[in-house]
């Protein structure tokens, strides 16, 4: 599939990869559930509510295309700005998230063009293939996220704390190793082991297999 960059100056509807167009399992509960008339323009408050409600699915989608978190958040910010600009065009009878994902996809492509020489970013046709795969797996991914919450609850507090330091505070392994008096290598091993157990737990739960009440790495 050929992907053309979004040209908002021309007011064009972007060409979208097939996968991204499928509204199937996306969480679109907050949309147009009020099924307002399409010619009514949402107020700033209503549109802000839509963005707030959907920013996390948007970030998950973007991170599949551009895995580095900092880059993904930058793309999310750009996407939100575009969505705000294009809000009068949003058809309230349709789901919000698939509409928003189109813009996220093209912002990822634009970002890729900007950074292709500085960083490692996938080719456009690979991004298209990922989008299609993601769309096909959406139901399973929902189950896995639910499973993740349960698995995290079952994890020992000190392992959860370690994960939280890594993911919440963006602490480097070296900083964390300094704090707990271990070598960075030991902490890498520990973190890898925790994530391995977590992935295994998610896989088992999502597949409907039994998982013991608590997890002891």
């Amino acid at each position: 599939m050929t992907s053309m960059p979004l040209d908002p100056e021309k007011g064009e509807s972007p060409e979208i990869p097939v996968g991204a167009m499928r509204p199937v399992a996306w969480d679109d509960r907050g949309i147009a559930e009020q099924s307002a008339a399409s010619d009514q323009i949402l107020s700033g408050t209503e549109f802000a509510a839509l963005i707030v409600r959907h920013d996390r699915p948007l970030l998950r989608y973007i991170m599949t295309l551009i895995p580095r978190r900092d880059d993904a958040e930058e793309i999310l910010q750009r996407t939100a700005a575009i969505l705000w600009e294009r809000s009068p065009e949003f058809d309230q009878r349709r789901p919000f998230l698939p509409w928003a994902l189109r813009f996220a996809y093209f912002e990822a492509l634009n970002f890729r063009k900007e950074l292709a020489r500085d960083r490692l970013v996938f080719r456009a046709e690979v991004l298209d293939a990922i989008v299609e795969t993601r769309s096909a797996l959406e139901g399973e991914l929902d189950q896995r996220r639910e499973a993740l919450r349960k698995c995290l609850d079952a994890f020992p507090a000190r392992d959860r704390d370690l994960l939280q330091r890594r993911y919440c505070d963006s602490a480097t392994i070296a900083e964390m190793a300094d704090e707990v008096g271990k070598t960075a290598k030991a902490l890498y091993r520990r973190l890898d082991r925790i994530r391995e157990l977590l992935a295994d737990c998610v896989q088992r739960r999502a597949a409907g297999k039994s998982v013991s009440g608590s997890i002891k790495p």
Binding site: E9, R60, D118, R119, R144, R145, L148
Partner: protein, 573 residues
């Protein structure tokens, strides 16, 4: 299995994805992953599952997870390292990083086929942002390179400036202006090496330690401004614009051989071959000079004003004007602002053009509410402000203080919103910090929320704090970035609190904020996520540069990156 030889012995898919997510893949590894993603559907499905789990982990752990106990603050202490010890320590770090950067450097040389300006990031795991571009002019880049525009963040790497000039602010607070042709190696937020060319440097008082190295010399000290020219032989000329600067002539091991203290207006030549430093006279036009940031203002529409009014603030300072040192509260006759400055330094706080502008002063200077805020902490409250800092620095924006303690040696704070640096807690430099301390006290405890990203000099950043009885929230640019939950997190009481703006407390000259503030509001309730988002986007959607971007391209509507950049002149509200 060796992780160093992935082509000969490929890692399992999960390990490949892990390295990709952590930014550790080599170009060869990346190419292998990309090829397989394009052709292997099962591998692609595993990749999607992995990345979705990774993103979900961020989501679950960064915002939703309550913390069992509040963070503990440590009393800030002045760093007592001697200058030579700092030189030695920074030299070791700089030498190590220079070695690590060598790989990137070779790559630059191999890629360098055009005469365009280039910045190549070091390909190392775990590197943090070191600096941000704050001024750029006359630069030509290759079409696919990341634009070196105002707001672009730089990690350690090699900068080859072929045309024009570029100013970068290091997260430690130092500001460098490079004039082409120049080559600068960005080593970290506290050090850089000028390989050749002209650089001006300003390390303001209140900035962190910073060292600028020339091939055989090292310079850096807070409260100084100076310039260095390095010629092709590696000899350096140094001129001091302000403060006293210590120049260290370095030996082969990177340690100081000889040092000389230079005063304002002094110029020296450092001869690499002879290893000496001698005073000279030369034309000052050959030295670069720091650019002052343009002071762009917010475009504040009536829609923004209405959005804030709908949220019913108890205090709303718009800084449209001042009357005998009084700032009007738009929502009430109470809680007007009072500008407090020393008579001989009244310009350290000025209200004009619709903003409040703060500069460094040798005396305490601040704006305080005419009356303490009554029962502000009864249950929930929120504080909202637009911040445009002059530099990266440690500057307190807002305080909530127990009345009567503001003049004591130890001020009793209930809340502080500030740009944090060198606090001796774990966080990036120059991020937004909200501290809630209850019962109010001095420096020994408190719940802290640090933003993940910095507040960039010359750009407007929207900051909102929300306190609820068992939860604290910090929003930056309309997005919830930190939350702390738990019964012990945020105590409540019925007492009034003194509200002041612009420095830490009111009694001493301490942590003075430098830059501009606008549209400051305090609410006696919790703003919702939707209200915060609406306020932010209402402001952003109204902001448009008057001049189109070069080439007629539509300017990016990203608040952090372009809309409020100094190069964009914005209409007055």
């Amino acid at each position: 299995m060796s992780k160093d030889n992935p082509v000969a012995d490929p890692l399992p898919p999960a390990d490949q994805f892990r390295r990709l997510a952590d930014g550790q893949t080599t170009p060869d590894e990346f190419q292998a992953i990309e090829s397989r993603l394009a052709t292997d559907a099962g591998y692609r499905a595993d990749y999607v599952r992995f990345m979705d789990l990774e993103a979900s982990l961020y989501e679950e752990l960064s915002l939703a997870q309550p913390r069992a106990s509040a963070a503990t603050t440590v009393t800030p202490q002045t760093t007592t390292w001697g200058w030579r010890r700092v030189v030695r320590r920074l030299s070791i770090a700089a030498v190590s990083l220079t070695v690590l950067l060598a790989g990137s450097w070779v790559w630059v040389r191999m890629l360098e086929t055009s005469a365009n300006t280039q910045f190549v990031e070091a390909q190392l795991k775990g590197l943090e942002d070191a600096a941000v571009v704050t001024h750029s002019s006359g630069i030509q880049q290759n079409p696919n390179d990341r634009p070196l525009m105002v707001g672009t963040r730089l990690k350690p790497g090699v900068l080859l400036l072929r045309q024009g000039e570029l100013q970068i602010d290091f997260l430690s607070g130092a500001r460098l202006l490079l004039r082409a042709p120049a080559e600068l190696h960005v080593l970290s937020s506290i050090s850089a090496t000028l390989v050749s060319g002209s650089v001006a440097a300003r390390v303001t008082e209140g900035a962190g330690k910073f060292m600028l190295r020339a091939p055989d010399a090292a310079i850096g000290e807070s409260g100084t401004e100076f310039a260095i020219n390095v010629n092709v032989r590696g000899d350096s000329d140094v001129h001091v614009y302000a403060g006293d600067v210590e120049v260290s002539l370095l030996g082969d091991d990177g340690n100081t051989l000889f040092s000389k203290r230079l005063s304002k207006a002094e110029t020296v030549h450092i001869d690499r071959a002879l290893r000496n430093v001698r005073t000279i006279k030369m034309d000052l036009d050959s030295f670069a000079v720091i650019r002052e940031l343009e002071r762009s203002r917010l475009v504040v529409t009536h829609a923004y004003y209405e959005a804030v009014q709908r949220s019913k603030p108890m205090l709303y300072w718009r800084f449209d004007s001042q009357n005998n040192g009084q700032i009007r509260n738009e929502f009430d006759t109470k809680y007007a602002g009072q500008i407090i400055t020393e008579p001989d330094d009244a310009s350290s706080i000025s209200v004009s053009g619709g903003v409040a502008h703060f500069t460094r002063s040798n005396a305490p200077r601040y704006i305080k509410s005419a009356e303490p805020l009554a029962a502000i902490n009864r249950k929930s409250f929120s504080m909202e402000v637009w911040i445009n800092p002059e530099t990266f620095h440690w500057g307190t924006v807002m305080n909530l203080i127990v009345p009567g303690t503001e003049s004591r040696k130890e001020v009793l704070h209930m809340g502080i919103l500030e740009l944090a640096m060198q606090t001796q807690m774990v966080h990036k430099p120059s991020v937004v910090r909200y501290l809630h301390r209850h019962p109010p006290g001095a420096h020994t405890w408190g719940s802290n929320l640090f933003s993940p990203e910095v507040c960039t000099p010359g750009q407007w950043t929207h900051v909102v704090t929300v306190k609820e009885p068992n939860e604290l929230r910090l929003f930056v640019n309309g997005v919830l970035v930190r939350r702390i939950q738990g019964a012990d997190t945020a105590g409540s009481d019925e007492n009034p609190y003194l509200f002041s703006v612009g420095q830490f407390g009111t009694a001493k000259r301490m942590r003075q904020f430098q830059g501009m503030l606008d549209e400051l509001a305090v609410y006696s309730r919790a703003l919702s996520e939707v209200e915060v988002s609406e306020h932010y986007w209402t402001m952003v959607s109204a902001s448009r540069p008057i001049d189109p971007a070069p080439g007629g391209a539509r300017p990016r509507p990203t608040a952090q990156r372009a809309l409020f950049a100094p190069g964009n002149t914005l209409a007055q509200k």
